[in-house]
Subunit: 433 residues, 2 copies
């Protein structure tokens, strides 16, 4: 019986999930794969706290290097997080000829190129399914099942915290701040919540997905990112009335070799699959030129779901090791080209939802419409159906598909007009056409 | 550059899709994987008809054996269908040490055990992603990403024809026969349609999924199968009123080591992800003990989508070949045990929808209720809200969870009563708890 000796760095939530998964199903995994997983060592600064799993204290150490440098260990699992120590440890493990599994999206989003190249040079694998979509095998699907496809577009709900907040805002009609506080209390959101609610975490995952789809490192700056902070209930309600639902979407599209990449709160049609993704669940909708539409759904975070992805990677790494495979497709696919070309704003075409609180003065709406016309923005609908107190009225404008640069210019002009009582709110609409 | 030489048996719809996929994206696939796919030979009895792809006529042959026995060819793709010639060809290819890719669910459902054992004995791989869920990488997800999971349950919409018919029945409120004829005219349903609408095709896929989930060959007889033939519009409308939708579901559940396996039209809650799967799309909902709920969605049939899955398998086979891997997990996972144990009917617990056309006679409903009570069937709701002409009235009864054997016995007793004007209709309700 072949064995794979595993060293884990970081015994937090995910580390405990990996240990629990192997304890529950180690025998089954061995039967299925013919390879026995052996937890050799676990390093953490804290080796005293109870993680809810019973393990031999003899495998615990506070010395990460004693794990990374142990010649008996085949596979190093990096679950420390962050981009400083984790990076050093990953590179040292690769240098030692060990395969590396990581769930660290920030590390890969910010230093992926350096790490992939290093792994490729060392002829050794790095596996990171758990970094995107938690337990959902979405990267593996892209690099294996969909290997024959040019990826036309990817739409991802990649942050469970945001999706949880949006779902509750829709169901309970409570303000963002209130739901956020409650989510923090319940452990669904971190304190501070910035990485999640400002879309950074989603952007980390989006650049990894884009790298794999298009074969080159993608810098974080390439991803136009906005989050859901301060999203008003009015948008949730208006979207619903229009038969849409608001989701924080990572959007990746190939426009004849130019890549569009953004993270933004987006109105999606209620009857689209992705609109059904509620609570803390994640989903990735991938359109390939051969396979057409596919979607992958599951838990994007959490001890056991993320542990499930890590275990899948460990067993793949073990199999690659025994087959003497070098750097796997998960590394090589990221490095087909040096860089991608990105779509400039005047080539990106979107539909927009725009809410303006118009002063109740004759001609206000006319002025807005005139600006829209000047910027060649074609209007799909205008609704002004109730009057608020205070002398202004909300107007909801939905555009047809317009050039992003034109819309941005129009929005600037509208803001400069003295017709509205508050900052206009503009959100993308995505019809998945 | 490594090359993989491919021989295709059967140049029908899927064969043409594979060729088109390689023609479109062969270069990209080579870049991504480092392996160049080379279409060496294609065998078909008809090598004259236009398949919509331009190929070198020199690679076409009517002699399948000249492909299977060609020492230059690495991988044989069986796309003939059926269980006679295809079986001989697959075994001969394995005997020749060639890896085999097949999309043939009937072959694997009926002769899988023999074929997997033969492949295992020969130390060579067989890959069959395209046999279940067309372009959706669902088997690969189970045997790789989810390898660390005990599978608790699987719910699959696995037949595009049935899902297309059900979707149109719901949207258009037209009778089954009319939609079926139209589907046949449009090419969404075969003539005769039996394999699809009687659930056999779904059962073929269900037994393959169950085999992989639980590690043993599963005979077709183990799958209790009923289709959607003759499903009445009344059920579609009633389900909708009750906030359900009817789907033909493959249902696989593990009850402490005893496996429940069925294919049946099932009421699913409208707000569940799987209820959003419309038209000819497929989806497989997999619940693992570690990963929790996951879902995989896409096109379950068609030239290019199925071709996409075949191409994924070809490239995996090629990679295994160059790594000198023997029979892969896709073979070994099916053969961990000799056989499974199946849940007897008195251990299966379900909810039921029951429609009875009661004669308008005093005491009719009372007699039905008495029978239910005698068989320990607890009722969730009874609705009798309109009267038809002809002296009978439809009554809709929803049960709580009841033992299947009890319900079957009760249904038999109800049919024996002289209270109803037509055969009662009983459908499963699945709440995914």
């Amino acid at each position: 019986m072949q064995e794979v000796k595993i060293g884990i760095l970081g015994f937090g939530t995910v580390g405990a999930g990996v240990v629990e998964g192997f304890q529950k199903n180690g025998e089954l995994i061995t039967q299925r794969t013919g390879i026995r997983p052996v937890l050799a060592k676990i390093a953490d600064l804290d080796i005293e706290s109870d993680r809810g799993v019973v393990i031999d204290p003899g495998i615990l150490t506070t010395d990460a290097l004693s794990v990374i440098d142990d010649p008996e260990i085949d596979v190093i699992v990096e679950l420390i997080g962050g981009t400083t120590l984790a990076k050093d440890f990953v590179q040292r493990a690769l240098k030692n000829g060990k395969q590396v599994i990581t769930a660290n999206k920030a590390l890969l989003a910010e230093y992926g190129e350096e790490i992939y190249r290093y792994a490729q040079d060392q002829g050794v694998g790095i596996y990171y399914e758990a970094a995107v979509g938690g337990g959902i095998p979405v990267l593996r699907s892209q690099r294996a099942g969909l290997i024959g496809n040019q990826i036309e577009s990817i739409y991802g709900i990649l942050n469970g915290t945001c999706n949880y907040i949006l779902t509750r805002m829709e169901l309970e009609r409570l303000p963002f701040d209130e739901i956020l506080s409650d989510a923090q209390r319940l452990g669904y959101a971190e304190t501070p919540p910035d990485l999640d609610i400002d879309g950074i975490d989603t952007a980390h995952k989006a650049v990894i997905l884009a790298s794999m789809a298009y074969g080159a490192p993608v810098p974080m700056e390439a991803c136009k990112t906005s989050g859901i902070r301060g999203l008003s209930n009015q948008e949730i309600v208006n979207a619903e009335d229009l038969n849409y639902r608001i989701k924080l979407l990572a959007i990746i599209k190939d426009h004849d070799g130019e890549i569009e990449l953004s993270v933004e709160p987006t109105l999606v049609p209620k009857d689209h699959m992705i609109a059904s993704v509620s609570d803390a669940f994640n989903a990735v909708f991938v359109r390939g030129d051969i396979v057409d539409d596919t979607m992958y759904y599951g838990r994007g975070a959490g001890s056991l779901p993320t542990g499930s992805a890590v275990i899948g990677d460990i067993m793949e790494a073990a199999s690659d090791r025994f087959n003497h495979a070098g750097a796997p497709v998960s590394v090589n696919m990221m490095l087909q080209k040096d860089a991608l070309t990105y779509s400039p704003s005047h080539k990106i075409v979107k539909r927009y939802y725009l809410r303006i609180s118009l002063f109740d003065k004759p001609g206000s709406l006319g002025k807005v419409m005139e600006i829209m016309g000047n910027h060649h923005i074609s209007i799909a609908s205008v609704v002004q159906n109730e009057r608020f107190k205070g002398g202004y009225a909300p107007v909801i404008i939905l555009t047809h598909k317009v050039k992003d640069s034109n819309f941005i210019a129009a929005l600037k002009d509208i803001k400069a007009l003295d017709v509205s009582g508050a900052e206009p709110v503009a959100l993308r609409i995505e019809d998945f056409e």
